[in-house]
Amino acid sequence: MVGITAYGAYVPLFRLSREAIAKGAKGEKSICNFDEDSITMAAAAAIDCLNGIDRDTVDGLYFASTTHPYKEKLGASTIAMATDLKTDILTTDFSHSLRAGTSALKSALDAVKAGSAKKVLVTAADCRLAFPLSAFEPNFGDGAGALLIGDTDVAVTVEASYSVYNEIMDVWRHENDSFVRTWEDRFTLAHGYLEGVKEAVSGLMKKFGYSPGDFSKVVLYSPDGRRHTELAKSLGFDPKTQVQDPLFAVMGNTGAAAPLMLLVAALEEAKAGDRILLASYGDGSDAFVLQVTEQIEKIRDRRGMKKHLASRKVVTDYKDYLAWRGILPAEPRKETVVFLSAPALWRERDANLRLHGVKCKACGTVQFPPQRVCTHCHTKDQFEPYRLSDKRARVFTFAMDRITSPVLELPIVTTTIDFDGGGRMQCFMTDRDPERVECGLPVEMTFRKLQLKGGIQNYFWKSMPIRT
């Protein structure tokens, strides 16, 4: 039987209070920091998913998003590097649709079933932009989900699936659009969302002989809370007892990541024997029947949705959000990076993306960045690669710059950190409260974006106060 063998998720630390957008609006939406994007969020969810799992056993990585930073460049490979997977694996991007996440799930299931791979990690992430002050803006949230698909020790089997496509201009972005376009609500919801999911779910139930009462939990994508209830009811489910909370009050609609993130939320409460219905929507719908096994108890040790949702910092100034997204242009500061060198990035990719340092075979000293000559014993070329991305560290000392970039981040915190197990590194600190930065502060590493130069998005790791 093929199915889900592990799950993970990532919700950014920051929440924009909806009151900041419109007086009287309730709740919060999750917003990624200025140094995050779909790739960094997917990597965070992937790493959460693989907690306790040997990364060398993963032989496929799929990345789904409608907000891929590139129009032409594989994202799955960048995430595979950040997750420190081996290179001879399947890597594919799924894009352009809000159901790209479930489409990737379906493909992963088929790949494992067909014997093309043994363990495929499906990641989905989105940070969609609605027109500022539009009705959609308060609903959109940022986040990522990840599912590991395999055929051994399966925690959630996939009993059945059913897909339909629906060619309709309801929610879309053309190549040059930054903001999501929609047609009138009444049309898009009637003939897009409600009709599309209904066709997939009723088709699934008819073909495989299920009825609404068979499911302990129903996980549905939705554009907003009201439509979510409407759809659930129209499908014959009880919105009070059977349906997974779509988390609009605390997170918002996370686009292609939503079906996976909401599924993770459901799985965190599920027990062996539960049957779950999962349905996405985006130019059609993918529907799945999932069955939870006893194995679910063995994979609880993850941050998932619960712990990420519980750890939050509220942003109350709408201008911060606009500045982080580049919607409010920032006065350019003096450039210190003249251009990014593709050969240098390629040459240093293991250090930069995998955060591989080296360990001297002669004296055991861990060093970052990788060296040819050991700083401690001066032995030349006797090193083995050493992953630092999953190590905890402590701040040895720090600086807090108040003059370089006042708009995006004030102050810019830079840290010298010492890793448990050895190694020292200097790096930016992110997702931090300046009042709480001090010598000795425990930190973890997080994958973030740095400069965008000449069309190249540079990525690296930053230190971060332990998230949960």
């Binding site: 003249v338 240098a344 700083t375 040895f396 720090f398 830079t414 200097q426 740095l450």
Partner: protein
């Protein structure tokens, strides 16, 4: 190894006004500094046999100096070692003379920092063939790390250490008021320094040196030629330079409360100059006060104060003009600003005049031995240069 002591003499020096010199380019600065040195030495440009040209940002090749001074086909090397560039330029010129390769050499440094928003690129290590993942903030952030750790390690309260910084800032500003070529001529108070806006915690505006343009030059020769040209030549007693190899950021053992490059350079310099008790034997010092924390830790690195005890000496006024070891008598980087490759030579210019008794209102009573210290770079990769100069016996 025999060392440089008493093998090279300084016979002429020049120094431009330091400041925001919008109407001067680097060639103007080179001409102004060099010609003052020629006049001081009683020489002409054609007497220069070799030259060393220090420049971090304003000129990248020996031909630039030849072009500015119209030097006719003599050997000129460009020297760069970040903030230690000026002293290193001087060091190279001295070795040229001591080796016998030439008899009269020019060391000159110039920088037009104000032409580019007053910053320096952080390409300390290499400009192009790296991934640009290192943190690229201004240098203040490098030194702020030592300030935060110094506070943590010795258990200083923020307000109390800020007061120590402020006393250093006040001292240097006071000295600068008597220094016509400095950029700033204003007294400041302890309160002003403590309450100034923070640029990188815990360093505030007055804990930082200015950004400026400037040039300074030295003409060096053998002691024999010096004796024949003038009575008040100065002898080079030691020249040290060390360069960090990344130790501070590769080895968790590094404590961020001293500069290992400076400690090593001081050891080399004192050995070469045969100094065993620097606090007693050094009469006057110019140290690299890019930030107040740098000057504070440098007192300890150079052995002027015991490790961790420099603040006590600051409180006691030991390093003021009236103290037993005046430091930065001309106002330091604080009042001159810091055109990188000119600063070391500007410091030597002050020590040179103190030794000659020509430091005007800043003149100290007894000066037989003076020290110059520069440090620049990023943590783990600092370049530290020390020069010790003295009167001929």
């Amino acid at each position: 190894m025999k060392g440089i002591k008493d093998k090279v003499a300084v016979i002429g020096m020049g120094c431009t006004q330091f400041g925001e010199l919008w109407d001067k380019n680097h060639r103007d600065l080179l001409v102004d500094a060099a010609y003052e040195a020629f006049e001081d030495a009683g020489l002409e440009p054609k007497d220069i046999q070799m030259a060393w040209y220090g420049s971090r940002e304003s000129g990248f090749t020996g031909a630039q100096l030849a072009s500015a001074l119209k030097l006719e086909y003599i050997p000129i090397s460009r020297v760069e070692n970040f903030c230690a560039g000026g002293t290193d330029t001087f060091r190279n010129a001295c070795y040229g003379v001591a080796s016998g390769a030439c008899d009269i050499a020019l060391a000159i440094g110039a920088e037009k920092c104000k032409d580019h928003f007053g910053g320096f690129n952080m390409d300390i290590l290499e400009p192009f063939d790296r991934s640009m993942t290192e943190w690229d903030g201004p240098p203040v952030n490098q030194f702020a790390q030592l300030a935060t750790r110094y506070m943590y390690h010795y258990g200083w309260k923020y307000e109390d250490l800020k007061r120590i910084f402020a006393m250093i800032d006040v001292k240097n500003h006071h000295n600068g008021t008597m220094s016509p070529k400095a950029q700033f001529h204003r007294e400041i108070t302890i309160e002003q320094a403590i309450n100034a806006p923070i640029i990188s915690y815990p360093l505030g505006l007055f804990d930082a040196c200015g950004v400026s343009d400037g040039s300074a030059a030295a003409i060096v020769t053998t002691p024999e030629i010096a004796r024949s040209l003038k009575k008040d030549y100065i002898l080079v007693k030691a020249l040290a330079l060390t360069n960090g190899g990344g130790q501070a950021v590769l080895q968790p053992e590094y404590d961020f409360i001293h500069f290992p490059e400076a400690v090593a350079a001081a050891k080399l310099a004192y050995k070469e100059a045969e100094i065993t008790n620097p606090r007693q034997e050094i009469d006057c010092a110019e140290v690299h006060d890019c930030f107040a924390i740098t000057e504070l830790i440098t007192y300890e690195d150079l052995g002027f104060s015991p490790r961790g005890k420099a603040p006590e000496d600051v409180e006691a006024g030991s390093f003021t003009l009236e103290g037993d070891l005046p430091v930065n008598t001309d106002g330091g980087l604080k009042c001159f600003g810091h055109p990188l490759s000119a600063s070391g030579l500007r410091m030597i210019y002050e020590i040179y005049h103190q030794l000659q008794g020509k430091a005007g209102p800043r003149q100290l009573k007894k000066v037989d031995m003076g020290l110059v210290h520069n440090i620049g770079g990023i943590c783990g990769f600092f370049n530290c240069a020390i020069a010790i100069l003295g009167k001929p016996e």
